[in-house]
């Protein structure tokens, strides 16, 4: 996941707090990226819940990137790149933690025999 978005830096006061323009752009984009997923779930224009789930996750990822660039001002130059490095590292750990947990638990649930007591040792050596 590279956050190398082509953010057109609003020059002028680009020293960590952004500018009025970058805040307003971020606000507008966030508004749109919030409205669409809510609309998809509340008005249900798409009948397939699986597809809607994928779409709203994509919108969430997009909005997180918008916030990262426009509000948190994470970029390649800030603090010599350490901010971005820590951010990407955290993102990787986050994905591993969440996706890994879900993956393991889905397998656990599907491998449970009906009527098997939980906590019972498996017979495989």
């Amino acid at each position: 996941m590279s956050a190398a978005t082509d953010h057109d830096k609003a020059h002028g006061s680009e020293h960590g707090h952004g500018s009025k323009k970058s805040y307003l752009v971020g606000f507008a984009l966030s508004g749109v990226l919030t409205f669409i997923p809510f609309w998809l779930v509340m008005a249900q224009p798409i009948g397939n819940p699986g597809l809607v789930a994928i779409l709203i996750i994509l919108f969430a990822v997009a909005q997180i990137l918008v916030h990262t660039v426009c509000f948190l001002h994470v970029n390649t130059s800030g603090e010599g790149g350490w901010t971005l490095l820590a951010y990407v590292f955290t993102a990787v750990l986050l994905v591993i933690t969440i996706a890994g947990s879900l993956w393991i638990m889905v397998h656990l649930n599907s491998n449970m025999m009906p009527g098997m007591m939980s906590g019972q040792a498996s017979s495989t050596p």
Binding site: F27, Y87, L93, L94, I98
Partner: protein, 213 residues
């Protein structure tokens, strides 16, 4: 510069070469504190990662109790999302006013941000109150335990952020916008925007995905 609070660690040792900005304006960016605070926020994100993972694992463990579709009010969640998003931009304008050195404007934006934050927490507490009134308490099912823990932890963070804003209102009122207060306001801005980012995850994974079940 402005007065320096005792043991504010103003003159910390820096362990790296400080690159002077081309336009020098007494920024607190020479301080290692900002990167340190950012690292703290990343560790906080990992706490939320484990809470999200826990919620994901338990999100279908209803124990015969209510499912997300039975208890979530998306209208309230949309309102809360809007409030938090607006509070992000009001804090942003506060930071721009800070750059210009306008004390009154900074205080105004900070106060507005705090009010929006309080509205957010109030709506969340109202939601929790309704749920508990309906018998959807944290001890009802694994899903509800995970839900209250995740959303409650975020709400607690917002509450702490509001307290911090209150402290900074007093600090800015007493000492103006010196290097130290600017640094504190910058840390608080990171904290506040970070909470908005976490909320994106909450409304997507908890509320919207819950309604799709």
């Amino acid at each position: 510069m402005a007065t320096i609070a005792p043991d504010a660690g103003f003159d910390r040792d820096t362990f790296h070469l400080i690159e002077k900005d081309a336009h020098d304006h007494g920024e607190a960016h020479a301080s290692p504190v900002l990167l340190g605070f950012w690292i703290y926020l990343m560790s906080d994100a990992l706490i939320f990662a484990s809470l999200f993972a826990t919620y994901g694992v338990l999100s279908s463990s209803f124990a015969g109790g209510p499912a997300p579709r039975d208890i979530f009010e998306l209208e309230l969640v949309a309102l809360n999302t809007a409030i938090l998003l607006v509070s992000s931009i009001t804090y942003g304008f506060g930071m721009l006013a800070m750059d210009k050195g306008k004390v009154k404007a900074v205080q105004g934006w900070l106060a507005l941000t705090a009010l929006l934050g309080m509205s957010f927490v109030a709506i969340e507490l109202y939601e929790f109150g309704v749920l508990i009134g309906e018998g959807a308490t944290p001890q009802r099912s694994g899903f509800l335990s995970a839900f209250f823990t995740l959303v409650g932890t975020h709400g607690l963070h917002v509450t702490v952020g509001i307290v911090w804003i209150g402290i900074m209102l007093v600090q800015v009122g007493k000492h103006g916008l010196g290097v130290v207060n600017k640094r504190r306001l910058t840390c608080l801005s990171m904290f506040w925007h970070f909470l908005d980012v976490i909320w994106i995850g909450v409304f997507t994974f908890v509320y919207l995905m819950g309604m799709l079940r």
